[in-house]
Subunit: 274 residues, 6 copies
């Protein structure tokens, strides 16, 4: 169960309005790796965790924090939109400064949201649940999580140098720090699970299910690709087996499908069926 208190977890107040930057900050709210994604990803993983209560709790704790990060960024966007001439855009054709604002801001901030944040990315594309991962396998999902925190921290770092506003940078310094912690925690959890299960997910596949003769071949275009020169190729793979390098070849014939039944109304066959 969830609770909310009116105060914010951290400061979220820009020095000055900047509707153009508000558009960019949307990526951190409703983008593929925005805070909506990590919040929902951790919560759905937590709700589905079976037989690992401490990790369930970690997921719920962290997902709840991320809800608060959406709040911080939504507040920042609302304040970046305050006090700028966003409804006087008819002047833009003659005033290039206003024109730059007009061109660079998200029109929905003015038309749809009345100067509030939107659950969309920096191009105005709505967030969707196809972004998130909750598989029931914690090692797989923690790899998704460390990726999400890596992409998220990368995006904050890029935005950091795109503004001079000290209030914005103060909030970003907090988000950078929290993303450091979250990368740390998922990396530590991965190490913990890999120690128990080994590095290949899922660890529970019986060996007779797998065509293991293909499990350690690096297929590479031996004529133009330099991939086989990577240093780790000549070392044992993370699961302990040596890697071999091969040029990919076909191992099966050219497939020929049978003509469909007449009810399919496919093109009539010109060729003889198989």
């Amino acid at each position: 169960m969830f609770f909310h208190t009116g105060e914010l977890q951290y400061h979220s107040k820009p020095d000055a309005p900047d509707p153009v930057f508000a558009k960019k900050v949307q990526e951190l709210i409703g983008g593929q790796f925005g805070e909506m994604s990590v919040a929902m990803q951790y919560l759905f993983q937590g709700w589905s965790t079976r037989g690992n209560e401490k990790y369930r709790d970690l997921l719920m704790d962290t997902g709840t924090q991320e809800l608060g990060h959406i709040e911080l960024l939504a507040t920042m966007v609302a304040r970046l939109l305050e006090g700028a001439p966003v409804y006087e855009q008819e002047k833009a054709a003659s005033d290039p400064i206003v024109g730059a604002i007009m061109g660079g801001m998200n029109p929905q901030h003015a038309i749809v949201h009345g100067l509030g944040a939107s659950p969309k990315d920096s191009n105005g594309v709505p967030w969707n649940a196809g972004y998130i991962v909750a598989s029931g396998n914690l090692l797989a999902d923690f790899r998704a999580n460390v990726n999400a925190e890596s992409q998220g921290r990368l995006q904050v770092a890029r935005l950091y140098s795109m503004t001079d506003d000290r209030g914005v940078k103060d909030l970003f310094s907090f988000l950078l720090a929290r993303d450091t912690m979250h990368q740390n925690q998922w990396l530590a959890a991965i190490k913990d699970l890999e120690a128990k299960e080994g590095p290949i997910v899922p660890s529970t596949v019986p060996p007779e299910w797998e065509a293991t003769q293909f499990s350690h071949i690096l297929y590479t275009n031996t004529e133009t690709s330099t991939a086989s020169q990577l240093p780790w190729v000549s070392q044992p793979a993370p699961d302990g087996h040596p890697i071999t390098v091969e040029k990919p070849v076909t191992m099966s014939e050219k497939p020929v499908l049978k003509p469909g039944p007449k009810e399919a109304h496919d093109t009539l066959p010109m060729d003889k069926p198989e």
Copy 2:
């Protein structure tokens, strides 16, 4: 530049038609972690790689292999749809066996695709590019890649026990093996890059950008959460710093936004502005 040859990389021929299983196999083609996702993810990462040509080549080699995996699965789906009574579904109300087929198959296989595969998932949702990741930062992206291969192998493993068809299982044994290799290669590449850059992405954030006092705190509900009992919490974090455990608290005031300008036509304020 790409080339194609008519032969398949591996066998892809079921023992018998099974339109219901064909619907499920679609997850491996057009689902969030299907072969369309890994193919496009690796290719777009390769096309954007700057200053690391060997990794660019590895990405292009691997992405090209994945295109061939789409081909294997599309061929399997087309053959699972051959020869079953999918256009005689009016009999379903009285014949429960036909009814089960009818209920379990994807109607678009019959109506839209004429017994061919679809670029959609097991529920018929079209694949979209919001599934893929290409950030320009290889360590971040290789984490996305090892996640994708983990989720993908997990899904193949689950489907393996949902069929008795030896031809399907033969193809799955190949896919399980290749996903083992791909997990191995991305894990090895991650180890290589982490050795150079450290574990926190991006490695290039200047320390003065980050509020480092928050970089190693595990925020947890100290009353009901057991997360702090995880073994790694009492050890140094992957980046070498000790982790501290804290109950989350608010560090800023309750935010109050200013009323919008009259052109926003927001609700008139009942309260005094800030």
Copy 3:
């Protein structure tokens, strides 16, 4: 800022597994009017509220409750998926009971989520932020809210008679009650705001902006439509003006667009431009 505790707000335990019903319950989680929608709708409205702090607080209080409702339903779905033979579907062709389960369940519950809930609707379509409304105008948004709670309660009521499971019905009895309260609260808030602003949103449009001669005409097909017989048509409109009934007519000429410039490469014009 948000907090989470491990205990649930209400009971969420079915008497028996039912993977087919689990698919249907997804509508209440990730459908257009599922709990993800109301949670995110209220939170984004709250974060954007300007000059009406009590309503901001109401929105945050209610949105937080809805997060707990997602939790209740995600837990219910996970438990409905426990203990049923969902990975033995190859038997379905010969066993119609298993076939019915196979046909009726969501394949992603087995393949993608490992028996956990999904942030998607009852057909497996991912939730997206295009479902939610946050306009900055509270009267407009409260109308969206009472609609959302009406649609949501309607869907729970329909599902109620589609199961015999007492545990499921117990949870539904709680959701029906909470939706009653939420309809009540948004209706009361609407009445409050309409008393101040009048019924037409936004109340702040200057009269000279509006072609008021068209503001109270019911356009109807006077030959076949019976709409004008509705009792309220002969009474004053909610804003106090009388309604008139008219057959719609054209008031402007047939438009003719100018041919595009040559750089548009549109079809060459056969007709004379305007």
Copy 4:
């Protein structure tokens, strides 16, 4: 059945081209609450109406009018795109006025549509049917309708002050008026249905289905939220019952899910199952 005549319902001719404003007008065509939404919403509601023929007719009459409104706006967009230098954008880097146009216009107007309107919103996101509501319950749906007309009129009002073009303003004055009428008609219809059924949708839920002890509690964070000070909280709810105010509490235990079967290949359980 539908008929079309070449003449327009109202004037739709701007004084001058303005490709930047054309982008913004798209919100009224293909946005969440654009004319495509209300047209399709009313028509699908009408086609599904059971046992209320006058309301069916009202829905069909109104939906048909909205089709004509798409036409008015599509014509306006096409004319706003006429005669501006949209294909000479290479000059933008040196000419800030052209640069402002370039930055602010929708590139698809030039590249994809050849200076015609698009069925998309002001950010270029395609309209989708997830925006519309047709539930079979008229009271629920009329609440959706009055919301749609409120959001729509709000957006027109905001756009009104973002242009000086008298031709555009003339069309907007007509749309403002029609949205006034449509808010009036749905409000009157809601009043009519509430008089018969009461305010809580659906009215047909038997009392024994509902945990009525929770039907009139306002859950609020009693420490920081001011929601309970709203004037209507101390008055009877719209359905006549008194409202009580409570701090939310948990009423059920911490859920523990059982480990999945081995075929799920979930993480192996570290904890004891329930």
Copy 5:
């Protein structure tokens, strides 16, 4: 401007309820090539037509007819859903006939739409405007139109043999006929435009823009592909030029991108930049 009359253009009444077939009929309403697509495609093309008023009128006439086809199919779906035991699905586990209905029907028909049609496809995916084409070039768009009518008629033909219901077949016989006419009319219009402009769209590209040495080469895998044996390869192309057959080769070097600036926080380059 549009008008509507209550009567239907054609009969739309099934002999008996069939909720499973109702799900399939949705493909013809809200699928990629359903009636929503052709209606919106023709209307948007019409509204954007510049300098070809007769074709504008043809598009508006035909688009208006398609609106009536949505109506016919929505009515059919609503009637296929009448009188079947769709809300008694708890019996499905023991009664395989009800189980088949349960598995095969669209759950949203019962839960979301109250036995009405939905603006979605046969898998429940919402219609979206990314399906439609309106380019401003009539020859291009008429090719889209003849494709849409071909795909649409193909789908009706496939569905025709999937039911025994005479009422459904009567409606389908009308749709087959109208799709015949619409294929005829777009084919005739294409022939008309090709006679004026030639077969290659757009006809207005100056020859010096095009690398014409590549305009008539069929690139084919000369080792395994039989494509060059197609009869028309040895004949002049539709634009009059002879076709040559070549094995594709690379004509440019391996690209090497420059490392990004430090603000991009991309991976540090291991290789020397170009």
Copy 6:
């Protein structure tokens, strides 16, 4: 099976960076008719072809070429993004030139992709598989293909005059040429199939399925529409039958649906059921 070589099929190097044009080029990669669409469309058509091996090979050959075209454009976008001041956008408010760049570029190129291409269109909307067509009927699908190549070539032609960069124009000259070839090949293939099957798809519909009395009527608004004056209306249709012109009329009664069962919780009927 697919192979890749590091060299490019053609040159792809701009003279100078231009992040604003990079945004526009995205339409050719991830737009509705971008190279991702034609690549995936041809490959899925090829994988589903039944009984026409030469056409299967043609589809695979051409689809493979299109993969190389994505590569050319992704390389072009990455190079257009090199060396421009995209991370110094805080200067935009005072420097209109930088402001124009800021307003006109895609923010995700800087924030999400680190100066690489994106699998999205020119507005940042992700590519999705709802754009592509693979029906199993080759004549239908070749009509889709000639449309795709027509729309694609049209878009390249429009972009051609929107830049002065000779490197970009060189790549476009190659794409224009290849689109000429592809239009030629699909037109030739259509002619080949029409000669065998006739012009109406599918050719296999038995005449008794079709209400042929409606197969050659042009329905037109005889009062305002000029469509019947098109020259081909008075000539035989492409399938050889004469066309007649009629004003559309209703041929069936006004439909009245039965009230829903009580479990539907629809609005209670005011009217008498049918």
